[in-house]
Amino acid sequence: MGRTAGIWPYVCLVPALAAFIFLEIVPALGTSIFSLTDYSGLPHAPINWVGLQNYHDLLTGGQTFLIRALQVTAIFSLLVTVVQNGLAVLIAWLLNSRLRGQITVRVLVFLPVVLGATVNGLTWYVMFNPLGGPVTLLLAELGIRANLLGNAATALYAVIWVQIWANLGFSMMVYLAGMQGIPAEVYEAGKIDGTSPWSAFRHLTIPLLAPSITINVLLAIIGTITGYELIFVLTDGGPAFTSQTLGMWVFNQAFFISNNRLPGYAATIAMVQFMLVFAIALVAQYYLRRREAVL
């Protein structure tokens, strides 16, 4: 049929290809070009070529901002990736045994993945609310007066908590699917040897789960460095930039600092972010794949 259809197969490709190239590929690559300009985002202002000026500014004048954003990104990414994956594996393991009511738990834990950042973020905003929010009341019972999202020392950790709460279901279901792909015979063999459930988990489930661990860890690292939806809803990077990751900074610098919007400069930060994701993904991929092979 392909030979008789003439140009029609090509015509069919055009709409998707056009939208994809002009609004996805070209912009993704174009970030590097904008990072070399003084683009202001104003409709009729001229755009001038400034060479590496933005990079120079970022590494000299913007240095403290850059270091702080890198620190926040590292804490956010590391804590979320480790805790979310650790919990998800354990819970998936519990759900993969024959405990009652586990379907309800699966459906419930996955629900925030469907509800999205605005609903999840505002729900926890109400929970953390300093006037009558249950979390605040609970902490007050323990003798701690806290406004978790409004305090520079705690805001980042409150955001991390919500980020894990919101995405745990996703990792959990990927692990669960991975565990269900492990043949029952493997465990039967273990039973004959008198293996305890914990030892079976440690020495059979975890090694055989390596491919799921690779993909989940990678998705969590990339997601936390590039994604900032929940941070935007909860704190917008505040207070005093203590929860501003690189991604959040790009967004704020490009569009939402009322009198100092600098999309060109923001594109430079986006390049740093991109290189970071690229490097980490490469290293993680290499390390985790090697681990898979060894196991």
């Binding site: 709409p15 998707a16 609004l23 996805e24 609903v119 269900q180």
Partner: protein
């Protein structure tokens, strides 16, 4: 890659393959952990639901309690004050147009790629695949949309979503490849026109994949917040997620109304989830599972 027989047969309904744990201390520990976990997920959701039905007086006196009296009026109040009529209609239009538009352009592209009807079909496949991994270039996107005069327009926002065809094409191509191609050859003899063939023969065959992909896109459009905040600053064309955030900013500290607005925004998704959760979970995790 998901195939027809796997679609919808998610982890959720497969039997457990793990070790059967009898009633032992380990089991009790398991129940305790699952119970605590359920509470951590239920409490915030129920709290927002309760607050949405409270009087603001009760909220300020004792928020952590059952609503008494039940203030149903919070809902119409939030709906009217927040112009949720406009936001709701906007989101329905965006969701409908983006879901069907994306499914159409993705299917049209996926079929010739899957069947190698175009030269270098693999190059196109890899090109689209790269879109799943590339970070969104929001700054150039802003520039392009401003230059084309489609910034802050419904059309521009919809077009932006059409560019996110990578994952739909990836899933649909995989699905088409799992269907035998004998029918295609028969159709060539009939002289059936190419595009008509895709819509009349291929689309019914891949309908399960299209439903799952459609569901995922619908949920993503409904939940998109960064997109509308950057590209749709005008209130009259905002979708509901951005409308909710706008409402939150305008009615700060009116927690009972904010809670009602949260429930209004979330409830269509909850209803959709209750009826299609197997497909939603399968679809949303399938991108990871093929890895």
């Amino acid at each position: 890659m998901i195939r027809e027989d796997e679609l919808g047969r998610v982890a959720a309904e497969r039997p457990a393959t793990g070790v059967q744990i009898g009633i032992r201390p380990g089991t009790i520990g398991g129940y305790v952990i699952l119970g605590l976990l359920s509470l951590i997920y239920l409490i915030p959701l129920l709290f927002v639901l309760f607050v949405s039905l409270m009087s603001s007086r009760q909220f300020s006196l004792n928020a952590a309690s059952f609503p008494d009296p039940i203030m149903w009026s919070n809902y119409p109040e939030a709906w009217v004050k927040g112009s949720f009529n406009t936001y709701f209609v906007n989101t329905l239009v965006y969701t409908f147009v983006i879901v069907f538009g994306t499914l159409i352009i993705a299917t049209l592209a996926a079929f010739p790629i899957a069947r190698a009807h175009v030269r270098g079909s693999n190059v196109f496949y890899v090109l689209f695949l790269s879109g799943i991994l590339l970070p969104a270039g929001i700054i150039p996107q802003f520039f392009v949309m401003q230059q084309l005069g489609i910034y802050d327009t419904r059309f521009g926002y919809i077009l932006l979503w059409f560019s996110r065809v990578a994952l739909p094409i990836f899933i649909i191509t995989g699905f088409i490849k799992s269907i035998p191609s004998e029918l295609d050859d028969a159709a060539a003899i009939d002289g059936c026109s190419y595009i008509r063939y895709i819509f009349q023969v291929v689309v019914p065959l891949i309908q399960p994949a299209l439903s799952v992909v459609g569901l995922i896109i619908a949920i993503r459009v409904w939940n998109d917040i960064i997109g509308p905040v950057i590209f749709l600053p005008s209130n009259s064309i905002k979708p509901i997620s951005a409308g909710l955030l706008q409402f939150f900013a305008e009615f700060a500290a009116q927690w009972t109304l904010i809670a009602a607005a949260i429930v209004i925004t979330a409830s269509p998704l909850v209803v959709l989830y209750v009826f299609t959760q197997r497909y939603i979970i399968a679809g949303m995790t399938s991108g990871a599972l093929k890895g």
